[in-house]
Point group: C5
Chain length 320, copies 5
């Protein structure tokens, strides 16, 4: 769908201008905004009619371009990536920013653009704001949309905590950590280039205007810088949690091995002795002794006590 929002110099709002009329009426308009909202193939081809550069149009038509800013003679071409709140995949937004107009192009639903659209329609002094303000507003909304995601990931990290209780839950936690790290990586791949783009805008008087407007872009930049710190810090935390889990796991194994060794060490010789006196030789003098049985039981008891004390002394005895 192609939708158009235009303010005439006299301050009237036009929403029903067809795309092919807008060029003729350009001199009467304060500014206008053309939004290619999930355009069909045929609608997308209108971009060629609007006289944009072929390379820029191709970047629009092919998905998954990198976040960037290209300068053409009388307009700037931005590629942004918003983020899909469900699967954290980038959702491309392409923007042509001319002094008089803005053209936005996106194949996917973009609630951030809808919000700015509504705001521009209802804002009483919208006519005095220009194309630069619309771009700022879109970037601001997109930046705002990252924060809940980063915060949710931080909460999930905190929820994992430090001390896993049982082996079963531990593996679940490791898988959870893995998914969190993958999400952080995705967020990072969207936010880093966006942050660098916004920084580049703040450094260019051409793009961000003087004093006052520049401050608004600086605010978006601050926000993105804060976000990137949160994400770096979250990645560091996940590494540390994983290392701690692995060490804990290894410690448990150690402790289980000890138990196994202690049991084997105590019972193997005892069972062997019992096996000896279970043999059926005709001539085994001990078997005839009246207190032979009790004597052997006593020996077994002594051996087990001795081994217990020896383990105690070695510090090998089971302690968790």
């Amino acid at each position: 769908m192609i939708r158009i929002l235009a303010y005439s110099k006299s301050g009237e709002l036009h929403e029903d201008l067809p795309l092919n009329e807008i060029k003729q009426k350009r001199s009467e308009l304060a500014w206008y905004w053309v939004d290619f909202n999930k355009p069909t193939k045929k609608e997308a081809e209108e971009l060629y009619q609007m006289g944009f550069h072929e390379l820029a149009i191709q970047d629009c038509l092919h998905l998954q371009q990198r976040t960037k800013l290209d300068d053409y003679e009388d307009y700037h071409f931005f590629v942004l990536n918003a983020i899909d709140q469900k699967n954290l995949r980038p959702k491309e937004i392409d923007i042509f920013q001319h002094q008089q107009y803005v053209v936005t192009f996106h194949y996917k639903e973009q609630p951030e653009i809808d919000a700015v659209w509504d705001c521009m329609k209802k804002d009483s002094n919208a006519q005095s704001l220009g194309s630069r303000y619309i771009c700022y507003k879109i970037m601001d909304k997109v930046a705002d949309s990252f924060f809940p995601l980063a915060e949710k990931l931080e909460d999930r990290i905190t929820a994992i905590g430090v001390r896993p209780e049982v082996t079963g839950r531990m593996q679940k936690q490791m898988n959870e950590l893995f998914h969190i790290r993958r999400s952080l990586l995705r967020l990072r791949h969207v936010i880093w280039p966006f942050r660098d783009l916004v920084f580049r805008i703040t450094q260019s008087e051409h793009l961000s205007g003087k004093g006052e407007e520049r401050r608004y872009y600086m605010d978006v930049y601050d926000y993105l810088l804060k976000l990137s710190t949160m994400i770096d810090s979250s990645r560091d935390m996940t590494s540390d949690i994983r290392d701690n889990h692995i060490s804990l796991n290894s410690n448990r194994m150690n402790s289980i091995m000890m138990t196994l060794t202690v049991i084997t060490t105590i019972f193997m010789p005892l069972t062997f002795i019992a096996g000896i006196y279970g043999m059926n030789f005709e001539y085994m003098p001990e078997l005839k002794w009246h207190y032979g049985y009790f004597f052997v039981l006593g020996c077994m008891f002594a051996i087990s006590i001795g081994m217990f004390l020896w383990f105690k002394h070695k510090g090998w005895f089971f302690k968790e």
Copy 2:
């Protein structure tokens, strides 16, 4: 609570001036300091009355802004993060520094600001010092407050030492290491941006003044640089301790596995032989031999000695 400290040009101290009178009396005052100390929502809105920029005010009202410095026409706006001594979370301080006045804003108790407040009230030549000195003093106090934390973490690392004694304590040490690393990460996230901010101040004549004043800021910077080296070094130590623990753990396991193997290897064949002569077959000629029992005992003894010597030779015998 909003509290005000003002020195008139004649050197008198005023503590009871209401906020709305201060603008009228500005020409009579040498300097004044307004502290928004844990302000209520209504008190916080006074910031709008004081004519600050909307973006700066929003940074005050929203928590967890990043440490930064913004220049406005006739004042500077700082966001600092002191640190909560209990949980090592950042505690935001916002400062507006004008040539004639300072406005500080913080939602949490800030002992560092209270200390500077008292000092300015009692200092005999306070009147001759200006807004820039107050800012320096606050940053100096905040920087000082980091040191005991970093030192305590270093002490805890030293206390862990190198050689853990038992498995049980080892896991406690690993958890302790994990908590230390998390604390170092938190300290780092507060100190790094603060250090960079102070460096930026020392580089700007506007902010740190000439020669003499710049030296005091350089001293704060030195201090923060020393702190960041301490923290980096502590993180390196914790990594090394963790690696050492893991290797030690793996070594113990190896040694326990050997013991288990030696025992199993010695007793299994002996027990098997005893089992053989415990079978109830009617025709088992060895059972009838007069010295059969003693011969079998001798064989068992020979087998165990042989295996003992073989393990000794393989270097597998238990040594810790």
Copy 3:
């Protein structure tokens, strides 16, 4: 084979000019392209006849030169590396770019060069395009040839998934990961220097021309930058998958060890008791008791229940 494509100033296409005639006819030609396509040793020596610098010729003759750009008096010398789609090894392409002509040199089949060759032969306004356009076209095709490889590797990473099911498949997955990482490393070693070379071209007016042509090189650069981000991100994913697999493996081992310990701990004492009453001492009072057998069975049952409950309490019992 040496093949030549030449356009006369009058727009005629010549394909049958021999190499030694071309110098004489130079003034009549708009531009020409000499392609050394898998040249024999003797054909390769023609380079000396064409008057190129000795160092450049040696770089042609020796394989595996690094990607680079050297400026000579009236021509540029490029070394590119395309990639072999089978084994991902670099396939060198050497290009001499003069204002009037292009010489390409490659010992291996290069489908990208064939494609550009055909395109130049058939393009109706080929005569107006020059040597610089041919170079751009070759680089564009080479860059395009990397994308399917990077995407296939991404698909293989996705196919591994997160949760391996059985031990046997796991090792296969680790080997697969290892091969993917090796492929990524190879791609990286071809793409990084290529990307940097293209960037250098875009920065030089001499090489990329003004405005319009520079934009086409920028587009190649964008593409390569996107590719390098994909590769970095894939490497990060493989690290995380490997770490997750290792942790899962260690967890399984832990869980198996527990099972082993539980079994040993329960049956060893029971078997020992059975061994005791299997001894053949003449005087063993319990054997005479009428309910001795049932009493011992009861004891065994009680011991096993006790140990089961103790393990349950310790949280050691088998759960996956």
Copy 4:
């Protein structure tokens, strides 16, 4: 102790001038050197009498300042860290370098300063050398004192070698590695900032003089650069040795596990069979067979041979 070394313009050596006379005689002196050698608290306060800046004096009085260089109006203030040869802890040296005099301040014994002191006392053309030369000489001696430490650490790394022989020694080697890494970290924390300080001196004509003197500082810098490369390289070696040890350990465990499995797998079924024929059922027909015993022995032998061959085939048999 405060000691003073002064040369009059006429070339005489004075060693007994008291500190309070030196200011009056300044015009007669070529240069003088005041050394605060392990000063008492009262002696340290003499620094205030000498008119140095308060911040510099505080850096002297408080220990563990970071290595740095501060410029004051007519003198430079250096903080160096020599190293304690025993525990590798930094030992602070503070230097005030004025055109006419040097003041050194250190709370600990500094053999490097003593050596320079003796050298200045005995050198025949000492009078013609100035304060800058003394500073260079001290830094040169301090840099020289690092080398034996770095070399000793390299020797200890070489002594560990690659292939540990027994488990017991292995843990000792890991602890040794850990201590070496800690020492390397300490050396690094002293040498890096010192290297950067010397580099800064070589870049400043003010500090290192022209041509000739600068070369001497460049030589110290070369030396420190070589040292830092040695330390980096040693750290890399220790990482690699540790990784190799861990892999070796894991390999041994694997091999021990195999032995254990082979033994268990062979003897468990044999012992089970022996147990079967040790049962006391009244009706067990095999027991009556005349060659039953030998038949069972044969079966057992066949089973063990079969399993041996199967393990051989699986490549699981014990090989070290």
Copy 5:
């Protein structure tokens, strides 16, 4: 041994000029080359007679200086490190490059210098080449000598391959990897600073001359850059191989543990049951049953089948 090669301006070659005559004849010579080839202590002291700076001479006399370039008034002083082909240790070469002469100094056999020496003696237009050409030639030969080493290491890495077959060979491979990594580290420590030195030469018109000569140095630089990429890539490969080996090892252990657990789990209860009926209680009713023995055998069979199916279901059964 000190050897001298001199060309008079008239083009004659002198090989027998003694060192002390050369200064007098300087005006008649086109250029000369003095090579201190493994000099004795006394020969080395001749450097002082030739008037070089003391610091440069000391760098010659002391071994293991870092690779560098120092500028003196009328000569340059280079320290290079060739590499010992046997043990990969650096072998220092010191070069004084003056407009008219070259002095080379080395304590060890240097085949690269011998090769250049022969070449200069035999080259027909050697007289027209100058000192700068000799330096270029030496660096070129030294750079060439690194390549076979790097390639041999790459071949050894390839020989290790990915999939180790047996435990015994695996440890050998890990030791081999460790030695390869150590060799790569040594190569790296020689090649990196050499590469940077050559780059510095190419950037200085003074050192590499204009256009043509600079190109030859650029060629050496290309070569060293290619080498450093090979070494980095080899290190990455060794890391990946090691990680793969460790994962494979851990997988084998897992699989062996499973086998052990399955065997223990199946035979322990069977052996226990056999132990029960081997007890000698007088009253054990089952022993009297006519088919008791077969019933117990049947039970044992059922238990083992049940456990087999349970393991199959759990996916724990042995698969490699």
